[in-house]
């Protein structure tokens, strides 16, 4: 559906997007993930034709971004970050204007606007000026704007930023609903959001793609390293280090007395393909330490993300 090859964008000397190659299939919900300033928005802006690439190529279906920009724009619905809509216009007037620009005929226009009012929940605000709407409502109007021509590709830049938790859930519902039939690309720096809505996640940092795959794939690929946390009573740290360090697969044993000095907190870093919990349990059972807490940190997207985007 969308084919991006060696895409690069320079702002003067600053390289915002560095040699990105990406294929997006029809019907995918793709999450573009990255810290602030990673190049997410710039990438989306190039996909939508707002910026032209410094070098590289974008093909949407068979259209090239250099030659058939207008055709590409017809296929794409785009909601920029924080929905910068015309403040002074009424919601209905705005949607009507967009419908005109999208070249819907008079009858199709009304049908479409009615349908969007239902999908995006715009009942009751059609005659308010956009500038007076709350952020969540504005975002919904923006979503209606982006879906006006029932686009094959929907591109959303941080669709849930600045919304309250209820609104976030609502917007996610809408996105998942649309994503059943359409290709959706959204950018976010909220990981749980990408995890909740996207089929596929692309992590970019400093303009480069550093990970690409489904949530499961990403978790597995960096899943070899596990961290196990223990709290022990009646144990002293040298003995703990000695004993637990001998369990095969445990690479680092970290111990820390808690404030009262009674409970010993232990952090085990393991590198193994198998689950070590059983053997660690048996090791502890042989001693007379009292086990208060015992859990394995699950590898969250959060951790993967931090690991991948850490400096150096």
């Amino acid at each position: 559906m969308i084919h991006v090859e060696n895409l690069t964008k320079y702002y003067d000397d600053f390289c915002a997007v560095d040699n990105i190659t990406l294929d997006i299939e029809k019907g995918e919900i793709l999450g573009l993930l990255g810290p602030n300033g990673a190049g997410k928005t710039t990438t989306l802006r190039m996909l939508t034709g707002y910026f032209l690439p410094s070098s590289g190529d974008i093909r949407v279906k068979d259209y090239s971004v250099y030659d058939d920009l207008l055709d590409i724009k017809k296929l794409i619905g785009y909601l920029p970050e924080s929905a910068p809509l015309y403040q002074g216009m009424l919601v209905y007037d705005y949607l009507d204007y967009i419908a005109n620009i999208r070249q819907l005929d008079t009858e199709g226009k009304l049908d479409r606007i009615r349908k969007l009012v239902d999908i995006c929940g715009l009942q009751g605000i059609m005659h308010s000026p956009i500038g007076e709407l709350s952020k969540g409502l504005k975002q919904r109007v923006g979503l209606a704007h982006a879906m006006m021509n029932d686009p094959e590709i929907l591109i959303l830049d941080e669709p849930t930023s600045g919304l309250d938790p209820n609104q976030i859930v609502e917007i996610r519902e809408i996105i998942r609903h649309i994503g059943k039939e359409k290709t959706v690309i959204l950018s976010t720096h909220i990981l749980s959001e990408a995890e909740a809505t996207c089929d596929r996640i692309v992590i970019i940092n400093k303009g480069k793609i550093i990970a690409d795959g489904s949530t499961e794939m990403l978790k597995q690929s960096s899943g070899k390293q596990r961290t196990i946390h223990l709290s022990l009573l009646k144990a002293d740290s040298p003995a703990v280090r000695d004993r637990l360090g001998q369990v095969g697969g445990v690479s680092v044993v970290d111990t820390q007395d808690d404030e009262a000095g009674k409970v010993l907190r232990v952090k085990l870093t393991c590198i193994a393909d198998t689950d070590l919990r059983e053997s660690i349990y048996h090791t502890i059972k042989e001693t007379d330490w009292v086990l208060l807490e015992y859990y394995q940190e699950t590898q969250t997207l959060e951790n993967i993300f931090r690991e991948l985007t850490r400096e150096n």
Binding site: Y50, K73, P80, P84, L85, D93, I98, I101, Q103
Partner: protein, 234 residues
């Protein structure tokens, strides 16, 4: 072409939804009306020369005030990004906004038609120069709109856009009164560049293709400049 009409009609609606339209038109009518009628009865002549003489200066203030928001506001709010990702070309956008601006200026001139009507009731009015004057006023308005549009595309700050537009329009208007600054050999060229000179020719009732060509070239330069700026931004 349909896209141009959609954009233009949206811009015109925007003018009349906000108070700008009413403020600008009232001030324009107050200034032109005052300066025209305070001296009109002293001259005791049934013509509109005074009105048309002053028009280039008034328009060089009024038109940039009308056009300053066309691009600057979009750049400032960020809706420029939305506009550019809709299926419209740069030319659709520029022509749409330009036409909206010209129609607005023409709309502001419309109530001033009451002046010649009043005057013709008072005496024998020669309608030739009046028609020429209005044609010239629309052409001048179009040229200034193109200049103002260009100024607006440069910056996201409406005040800067206004001042840049005003600066260019004012210079074009007053160029032929500044001739003594320039060497003799350049005088012909410089006076040809002045908008006032061409406007006065038309306002005398002489419609010469050279004068029309001048205004059309200013329009072209203004619009082409905006196009270049838009291209530079992407």
């Amino acid at each position: 072409m349909r896209q141009v009409i959609h954009i233009a009609s949206k811009e015109i609606k925007d003018y009349f939804v906000s108070p700008i339209a009413y403020i600008v038109i009232s001030i324009f009518l107050m200034v032109t009306g005052w300066f025209f009628f305070t001296t009109f009865f002293l001259f005791n002549q049934a013509d509109l020369r005074n009105f048309f003489n002053l028009l280039p200066i008034t328009l060089s203030f009024v038109v940039p005030a009308v056009t300053m928001r066309l691009f600057s506001e979009e750049l400032n709010v960020g809706s420029y990004e939305i506009l550019l990702t809709l299926p419209v070309t740069f030319n659709d956008i520029i022509f749409g906004k330009f036409i909206a601006g010209v129609l607005f200026v023409a709309g502001a001139l419309l109530p001033t038609l009451s002046y010649p009507i009043c005057v013709s009731l008072l005496g024998q009015l020669d309608w030739g120069p009046v028609i020429g004057g209005y044609l010239g006023a629309v052409l001048l308005g179009a040229a200034f709109t193109a200049v103002g549009l260009f100024a607006s595309s440069l910056t996201r700050n409406q005040i800067v856009a206004f001042i840049v537009g005003l600066g260019i329009c004012f210079t074009l208007t007053l160029l032929d009164t500044m001739l003594f600054f320039f060497p003799r050999s350049l005088l012909g060229v410089i006076s040809y560049l002045g908008a006032d000179y061409h406007f006065n020719n038309i306002a005398k009732g002489i419609i010469d293709s050279r004068d029309i060509l001048y205004f059309l070239s200013v329009v072209f330069l203004g619009l082409y400049g905006s196009h270049l700026v838009m291209q530079e931004k992407s």
